[in-house]
Amino acid sequence: MKLYKMMSACLLTCTLLTICMPSSADQFTEADVKRWTNEYMSVMKQGEKLFHGGLKANNTVSCDQCHPNATNIHPETYPKFQKQLGKVAVLGEMINWCIMNPTESEPLELDSNEIIALQAYIHYERRGVALQPGKH
């Protein structure tokens, strides 16, 4: 009986909230889209800088030295099996492999701002290419 009362109270609260909200959640505007796109492009630009020497690698080597315009990364193929890691990996794990090996530096947290920005840039340079997860 107590549970029933609690559920009723919750339902009432939700109904009231819905009525009181000025607009529905999906009623986003062009201004919203512009803001969200700008947010993405801003992070993408940060990623481009990190990719071109902004990571300050211990040995000064930068991502773009081997991957001009983020080529030969193939973000559209991840997650995929990496024979050298012996498992299906996400792109961030391969970015970290590169950070640790060719650039001789310390790996980043997979949800760090830097890894997100790098992926934003890598995906941007590959825009328009169809998703092909697992492709080699």
Partner: protein, 358 residues
Amino acid sequence: MKKTTNRRDFMKQTAALVAAGSLPLSVIEIAFGKNSDQNFSFAYLSDSHITHIKGNEFVRNWDRGLVRAVAESNLMDPKPDFVFYGGDIAQLGKPEEIDHGLEILGGLNGKVHYVMGEHDYYLDLGEYWKKQLGPDYYSFDHKGVHFVVLNSILTHEKWMHKKWPSGMDRMLQMARLDNPDGQPFMVGDAQRQWLKKDLAKINKDTPVVVFSHSPIQKIHKGWNFWTDDAEQVQSLLKPFKKVTVIYGHVHQIQYNQIGNISFHSAMATAWPWPYPSSYTQVETYLPKLTVEMNRADPFNERDATGWQFINMHTGNIDLHYILPENQNRIVGYDAKQGKPVDRDYQKTDKRIPPQVHY
């Protein structure tokens, strides 16, 4: 008559080297037909990108590529008459980098001829390189072949000589391959005039071998796989029966035939580059003739820094690409077709999955 070393002989002689893996150098054997006693070979190393970190520290990976190429080329038998270095000793043109690279290259037996790369040039407009190595364009004759070296990595005078905060600012602009504000490479008027005069003295039957850092053909402007005045240079080479252009810069296998001119690229000792078509946002023009090298395995740091064994028969060349952990490649001049073709993979249905780049 000196016997032209065939691939089997060469492989026997260098079996130990091949067992060691990648050999990032080229052997170029030039033969003038069956009755010539003027055959000779030379080695070709390129694109080491020696990088100074601080103090006495340099990037290990790039050092090792060059150290290995030098050691292996010294073991070549028959010994090459000389060695060519195709440009980009340094990453940022610093005296420390050029000196460190030259110290490693100093281990080579015999004479070394150098080609200027953009990474050697744009810090001080080639001043230190020239001080150490001499002129950046020149020619010489060797056993019946006319060799020409061009500095093909110049760009607009205005850009080179504008008021830069420092030489390093200019260098960093040029060092970024995918720089959206990048400037196109060119040989320029002065060198083309010099080349015209230089070639005027040469019999049109003489084989001519031209060395440049960038391709004297247009493949992808965005990465300077490109020389802006390529057609003008090609037209100066047109009167000659047999012309070969050998270039560095691209860090990958490329070959092409434009009229009488065969084009061949060489591997870098440092690292491989993707093919331009991998950049899907722009149009690029890799020669249709080129069957691409196998995609590199990043976990093997010398992969796709292989080398070429090259025979030059009656003025045309056969290239034997020796690729670590991959099937070797042979690209030879086909007299009937009048162009270089891959002996195993040229036909579309003969290609293997690693040659598919995307």
